[in-house]
């Protein structure tokens, strides 16, 4: 067989291979830890203990995961249409503008459960509009979406800096951020959920936007696999020629998909602002948009995979913070290296171990790889 991606049973494809990649990533990360003179096993224990050991850790892990679910969905939905949206970072940042405007306007008059839906619409709307421009340029002018979305990240950052040191900043303040939102602009915490299962949470930013993230994951599944629009999207993603044949408008499908992608990205802004800091501060996205690419890759662009991958990255963020605290030799930068390794092995080198796994399957269970059938045909 000449095809590099021959069949594997689904459980191996979606379970075994990502797991093996993760093991390799942690193995190499372990070597790095060894290099700085610490015990990799103790480091791993601290990392996992820090992320899942106590209620407090779990709450933080899920808080980070919330952010990554949004950005992961944003990247994944575009991938289904064959588009690589690198602009999730900027779209999320601009989503913060939607949150800021809504909360600053309504937090004194409306309760949170009315401000929240408005903020959802505003953040999603601004994110979608920010994705609209590169989408239009791609669909109508052929400007490559990867290039334009990267550039739009910089433009978004500049605009937000301007707004946060200028119009959105309270007059007397020195800090580049909005004023604190009042009660109407603060999302309730979900820490009680963890306490329900016996965990103890002192204070953690885990909030209701987690539920919104899960709802959006479900929404994405429905959109991609159950609607006519999703069908057109996937057709275009797999084969633009087939889409043309089927009478699907290229312009429409690219623009709408990118706007949905931008909307998912924009909603990410809710979690750290209304959910945690209660203001919109400079650089609140902090690279979560790029982590979203890794999350989407690892989660195979499927909502279930994305939620799981987001929790994994949430664990790395939370456990990594603990690790940097417990082991002074391992600095914050080391954590970034470990995260980078996970991205490298689970994302970029996704198919690295595939040939070996396939060879193993071919030896031990030829039927599962379809070799027996092929031999019979020949």
């Amino acid at each position: 067989m000449s095809t590099p991606y021959a069949k594997l049973p689904a459980w191996a494809d979606y379970g075994l291979i990502p797991l093996l990649n993760l093991v390799v990533a942690f193995f190499v990360a372990g070597l790095v830890v060894l290099l700085v003179g610490e015990s990799p096993f103790r480091a791993a224990a601290i990392l996992i203990e820090g992320a899942f050991g106590r209620g407090q850790g779990i709450a933080y892990t899920l808080y980070y995961a919330t952010t990554f679910i949004f950005t992961g969905l944003s990247v994944a939905v575009a991938v289904h249409c064959g588009l690589f949206n690198i602009g999730t970072e900027g779209q999320a940042y601009m989503g913060g503008l939607g949150v800021a405007l809504t909360c600053l306007a309504f937090d004194s008059v409306l309760p949170w459960w009315l401000t929240f839906p408005l903020a959802i619409l505003a953040s999603a709307g601004v994110g979608a509009l920010w994705a609209l421009i590169p989408a239009w340029l791609q669909a109508r002018r052929g400007s490559h979406i990867v290039i334009t979305t990267i550039m739009f990240n910089f433009i978004a950052a500049s605009i937000m800096v301007y707004l946060l040191v200028g119009p959105l900043k309270p007059l007397a303040s020195q800090a580049p951020q909005t004023r604190l939102f009042l009660e109407g602009g603060q999302l309730p915490k979900l820490n009680w959920l963890i306490e329900l299962f016996g965990g103890r949470v002192r204070s953690a930013p885990f909030n209701v936007s987690f539920l919104l993230a899960l709802a959006m994951a479900f929404f994405m599944w429905v959109l991609v696999w159950r609607t006519r629009f999703g069908y057109e999207m996937r057709t275009y993603g797999f084969s633009p020629k087939a889409a043309r044949y089927a009478g699907i408008s290229e312009t429409r499908i690219i623009i709408l998909t990118m706007m949905i992608s931008g909307a998912f990205a924009g909603m990410m802004a809710l979690n750290p602002t209304m959910g945690d800091q209660h203001n919109v501060a400079i650089d609140f996205v902090g690279g979560a948009g790029f982590v979203g690419i890794a999350v989407a890759l690892m989660g195979r662009s499927h909502p279930v995979g994305i939620v799981l991958a987001a929790i994994l990255f949430g664990m790395l963020y939370q456990g990594g913070a603990e690790l940097a605290f417990e082991m002074p030799a391992i600095s914050r930068d080391m954590i970034v290296i470990i995260q980078g390794l996970v991205i490298l092995f689970a994302g970029a080198l996704e198919h690295m171990l595939r040939p070996q796994v396939q060879a193993l399957f071919a030896v031990f269970s030829p039927r599962s790889v379809g070799i027996a059938a092929a031999a019979k045909d020949g």
Partner: protein, 510 residues
């Protein structure tokens, strides 16, 4: 006879179930021009790819100048003195001629020396073979004829003694082709060996010394060109196989359903692929469009089906025009009763990564039957897919199976069932049985005849002459973008073959 430059002995090559080369023996004399002819898919290109190291033969032996060579890569072929000029040029468009010539043959990390050597070598080649090209011209600015010359120079620069040309005149104007032939003769006089792959019999007669004919993966004959005729070669090429005759009654043509007039289509490079083509198709008849692949048939049906914009001309569907020069929407055409089975089912007609039932609605996904508001009606879709699987005997009968896992014949049935079951007034079918197993061919042919008998207008484009002859009520032959003749299906294979090969010849049919 001179010593053999190339000997191929017992070459076999299979791709899956397709036996592309079967026990091929071939001897090419040194210092000769040897033609290899055959229909599309006869295995010519596979054979040459084996010789040039792109593929490995499953069995057999290659001898170059009497020595057994194992050619596993194109570098080994080059080392053995074999050069190849591909049908689609392998040039870097924004490099100069000189840069293209040394590409892959730069021997130093710095280019200075290589360039200087190449420049003087080009001057020598120019003198010896009349291969004039400006070494500093950028390739993309050159006309195709000169680009091809650069390909030949590349091969000669690498010391090729044996030059393989794959369909070299396909992209050339007649004048450019004549010039190429002069160059080839000069190469021959200098003692080089030339292997010319083509399906144009005229060229074979004009320039080769010896000609070998391939058909369905086997080498059926080798003749001295001087002692053969175009008629004999055409017969050898097309073969005398038993026709897969389909039972069919008289056609009862009705009203004109599809009227094409003066349709002109250019490809992305601006080359005219369809040149003022006009024809009509009536209800209740099958019009077959024959021709060697690449003579504009694909572009013609794509333009009619609204996938490719035409430059000029009109197409009337049921008397109402289709906007072929503008944004004809394939979706609208479907609504108006024009169904299209595209030639390329892998990339156009199907999405291979989809489940079977998802492909069974491609293009019809907006129909009320399959939709519940903005949602897909999954149950209805699967139910409809199951019906078609039953009716068209698609195997395995599993509508949740990934389309890529169906065989070629069953994939084609998925497309056909989708398009036919919409009950279109006009059905345009490209290569109905390409890559389809024998059992399915018969089934597909019967279905097409049934469509005709139900009063539909059917257009079939195929490179399989047998298929065209057994299906069609009228046959149009396309050559170089034009319809060069219309014949009854009773016309002899030889006659159609000549038309397809562009040989102008009137037979006294009256």
């Amino acid at each position: 006879m001179a010593e053999a430059a190339i000997e191929l002995i017992g070459i076999n090559k299979s791709f899956g179930a397709v036996h592309a080369n079967r026990d091929i023996n071939l001897e090419v004399a040194r210092g000769s021009i040897h033609g290899i002819v055959g229909e599309n898919g006869a295995g010519k290109s596979t054979l040459m790819s084996i010789l040039y190291g792109f593929y490995q033969a499953d069995s057999g032996e290659i001898r170059v100048n009497g020595h057994v060579k194992a050619i596993r890569t194109s570098n080994e072929a080059i080392a053995a003195g074999i050069g190849m000029v591909h049908q689609h040029f392998m040039l870097v468009d924004n490099f100069t001629v000189l840069e293209n010539v040394i590409l892959g043959a730069e021997n130093d990390p710095l280019l200075m020396k290589s360039i200087a050597r190449a420049r003087s070598e080009l001057v020598r080649l120019e003198r010896e073979y009349g291969l004039q090209v400006d070494p500093d011209a950028v390739v993309e600015d050159l006309p195709v004829g000169l680009q091809q010359r650069v390909e030949i120079l590349k091969a000669l620069y690498r010391g090729a003694e044996i030059l393989i040309l794959d369909e070299p005149t396909g992209v050339l104007t007649p004048a450019e082709a004549d010039h190429l032939f002069r160059i080839l003769r000069q190469l021959k006089e200098q003692g080089k060996t030339v292997v010319l792959i083509t399906h144009k019999l005229r060229e074979i007669m004009a320039i080769t010394d010896t000609v070998s004919v391939m058909r369905q993966g086997t080498m059926v004959a080798t003749r001295e060109t001087a002692k053969t005729t175009v008629e004999e070669l055409a017969e050898l090429m097309v073969g005398r196989r038993v026709l897969l005759r389909v039972e069919k009654g008289e056609a009862r043509p009705g009203a004109v359903k599809l009227a094409v007039s003066d349709l002109t289509v250019r490809d992305a490079r601006g080359v005219t692929m369809v040149d003022r083509v006009s024809f009509e198709v009536r209800a209740g008849e099958i019009v077959g469009i024959a021709g060697v692949a690449g003579n504009g048939q694909s572009e013609l049906i794509e333009a009619i089906a609204g996938i490719r914009a035409a430059v000029s001309g009109t197409v009337l569907l049921d008397g109402r025009p289709i906007d072929v020069t503008g944004a004809a929407d394939p979706g609208d055409l479907r609504e108006r009763g024009l169904a299209h089975v595209p030639e390329d089912r892998h990339h156009v007609g199907l999405v291979l990564a989809f489940e079977e039932n998802e492909n069974a609605i491609l293009g019809y996904h907006d129909h009320k039957r399959y939709a519940k508001g903005v949602f897909l009606d999954i149950d209805a879709i699967r139910e409809a897919a199951k019906e078609k699987i039953e009716k068209y005997d698609i195997r395995p009968p599993d509508c949740r199976l990934k389309t890529a896992n169906f065989s070629g014949g069953n994939q084609q049935k998925i497309v056909l069932s989708r398009e036919m079951e919409q009950d279109p007034g006009v059905l345009v079918v490209g290569q109905p049985t390409r890559g389809v197993d024998v059992g399915a061919i018969e089934f597909i042919h019967k279905r097409l005849i049934a469509m005709r008998d139900a009063g539909k207008a059917v257009v079939v484009v195929s490179v399989e002459l047998d298929e065209i002859r057994s299906l069609s009520d009228r046959i149009l032959v396309m050559f170089e973008g034009r319809v060069v003749g219309e014949r009854e299906p009773e016309a002899s294979e030889g006659e159609l073959g000549l038309l397809m090969a562009g040989v102008e010849r009137r037979q006294a049919v009256e």
